[in-house]
Symmetry: C2
Subunit: 425 residues, 2 copies
């Protein structure tokens, strides 16, 4: 199923990075933006339970990047823009500085801060946000609920990575509270719509791919893959009742515009190379412009945890990124077919990642089958959709031999809806 | 039908601004970004057939804006950000400087350049782009073609200004050539799709509203109206055959991503106030959050001209912006219902503006009724959809008493598709 080249743990002088269950060993080196106390947000790299203040390393002359300085801003877009050679040089130098026995240990050590003391910010400026619908189990589940099992997949689905443009302004970093949206709603049996709080608020478990280079005109899947800078976990919060009423004929709009939460650490594509996985067997042959020249998915274990206010955590779903039908490179290649210019900082949501079994489903819509089969949580509470006070946490990691490349938590808590304003009554 | 307060021409010492048919009298003062020869792009204001180099006026101390300098960059976003008081101060001072008998005429005159000598650039940084489907004649025409006359309007249409997110990176300024897109296509009778050039390339006549202030959380229609900085003409180039195959279930994607052309001059909302017009009688009462507190459309005459390569121009459509069912303020208010943050520089396409008669239709899809009734052009050529070499020009103006507030041309020429790349064969 997968063709991964398993590598071993690279050991670091930062002890906490060498634990078997550490999300951030030396093999990973993910990129974030952090602040401590009242300090300004700065670029940092996670190692074990620490953050290396790489802006400080660059300032101190320990990190000399081609085209630098690139890290004197509170986002990673400048490193992206500098291109793949700079990305590789950055990883090589960071690996050198943090490896066990590094000559520079004493110079680097003062620039470590504890993750526990840091506040995380959006790691990059999101240029534009596109979301896909590229998981076959998810599309089949949703299609079956809405159109019946015979018509579950639309006729184009096995030929096109179906996508739609989302709203970049709504992307927030893990830890940001998410307020239940208001919206225009029409219960199926009602004659007319009304304006009020969403009653079917949901999550979507996704991966986000970050475009690290600009393009004009159509590009191949191989070119697209080389343009992807890294990945994050992504929760595409979804108001199912708003969506049901608004989405015909032009697709979801306000149902998806409240918030999209991403994990704070960008795992660079290079850190994921050992975990490459093949796409599925194709029921219908893809057109040449969409064929993968090599395995382009990744073997990344994913889970969703739900914690009610004051309650215990329940893991409500476990799945894997290799369940996708289309990979991010195929999505990006398709995105460019019409000549659509892509830019540094564009974010592509994979689409909801559901697996074949019931407990592999990546949304409550699927897990509770549209509310017909409420989910039982630890402690006995049930959920059809999200309730106020619920905290959702996505987690993911690729499992190596004695180490893992993890993403850190992607979390958000649901706040009650605001009161309906006077002018809307 | 309209409640406009007709005003008179304000006369300018720039003679060409005082002609009855001038798009840019002193009443207008639209904002663009221009360059001359090898010079850098700069902020300018159109007056008659000239452009005032307002960056130079600001530098010279003739234009002292609150929070300035605001015009030392090649885009108008900084003035937008400065807020409605700065917008009003800007217009008041420009009116003073350019009015007949202005004390500063001799100081300002050296900073005029001929529009004929200038190249125009995008007048603002487009943050995000949303397109709507808010013209009833257009939605009825398209719906009738696709679903029959009984089901022409989707059930939500009379309740929601239907919109979808577009691609900001594809927005270009008038005068930019537009290459016919490639894409995935499936003729209705074909078994499988293929990859090739679009065969049903089309225009959409729209107005674009520019959001000039940021918001978080839902806002009222009145607040939304106050946030709109100005308007442009907008041609939402559309690949109808790509759209037909891709758009279910999540809406148009690559069909709309090739290019969206806007006119180079932002006509500020203040310049359009005398031309306010009421919305239509509502067949179904709108929910309170969407009701207009006052007339919020504008009486703007619009036309579309098509010029084949080497041929004569044909005006193929004449309509008016007051044909819209939903105004931009209603669209913007709806856009914020879910808590979607709006930003300075967001662009909202009105949706295609068709009128009740055949020659009022704002797209070739409607004008040729899906290709079944090809349109006859001056000189005898016919068109179902656009052909390579065709130049499309949108024009618009509000008619005052002896003067007009115009938008200037919004034009683009269709170039042949690129060859299908080897990797896509």
């Amino acid at each position: 199923m997968t063709e991964r080249q398993v590598t071993k743990l690279l050991t670091s002088w930062v002890e906490s990075a060498n634990r078997e269950d550490a999300d951030f060993p030396l093999n990973n080196l993910p990129l974030g933006v952090f602040s401590v106390g009242d300090g300004e947000p700065r670029c940092g790299v996670a190692i074990g339970d620490r953050i290396v203040d790489v802006a400080a390393l660059e300032e101190a002359g320990l990190l000399d990047l081609p085209g630098g300085p690139l890290l004197d801003v509170p986002f990673w877009n400048e490193l992206m823009e500098a291109g793949p050679e700079a990305w590789a040089a950055f990883r090589a130098r960071m690996t050198e500085l943090l490896a066990e026995g590094a000559a520079e240990q004493a110079q680097v050590a003062p620039h470590l801060v504890a993750q526990a003391d840091a506040e995380m910010h959006l790691p990059f400026l999101v240029s534009e946000y596109t979301d896909f619908y590229a998981g076959r189990h998810h599309a089949t589940n949703v299609g079956t609920m809405f159109r019946g099992a015979e018509n579950a997949l639309p006729p184009n689905w096995l030929h096109i990575p179906i996508g739609y443009n989302g709203r970049a302004s709504s992307v927030v970093v893990s830890g940001t509270d998410v307020r239940r949206p208001l919206g225009q709603l029409k219960p199926p049996q009602a004659e007319v719509p009304y304006f009020g709080p969403c009653k079917r608020f949901d999550l979507e478990l996704e991966m986000g791919a970050i475009v690290g280079q600009a393009s004009e005109g159509p590009i191949s899947v191989a070119e697209a893959d080389a343009m992807i800078f890294g990945y994050v976990l992504l929760n595409d919060w979804s108001a199912r009742d708003i969506q049901a009423w608004e989405y015909q004929p032009l697709g979801p709009f306000q149902a998806k515009a409240t918030a999209t939460t991403i994990s704070p650490w960008i795992v660079m594509a290079a850190a994921l190379q050992p975990f490459r996985a093949s796409g599925p067997v194709r029921e219908k042959e893809l057109l040449p412009y969409l064929r993968e020249p090599a395995p382009m998915l990744y073997d990344i274990d994913l889970e969703v945890a739900l914690t009610p206010e004051g309650g215990a955590e329940s893991v409500i779903s476990r799945t894997n990124y290799r369940e996708m039908y289309y990979c991010s490179a195929q999505q990006l290649a398709h995105h460019t077919t019409s000549g659509c210019p892509m830019n540094v900082g564009d974010l592509l949501g994979s689409g909801t990642i559901s697996g074949p079994e019931k407990d592999n489903r990546g949304s409550l819509l699927e897990l509770s089958w549209g509310g017909k089969e409420p989910l039982e949580l630890t402690g006995g509470a049930t959920r059809s959709f999200l309730e106020d006070g619920d905290t959702l946490t996505l987690r993911g990691h690729a499992q190596g031999d004695g180490y893992r490349v993890g993403f850190g938590d992607c979390t958000g808590k649901v706040l009650p809806a605001m009161d309906v304003p006077d002018w809307a009554r």
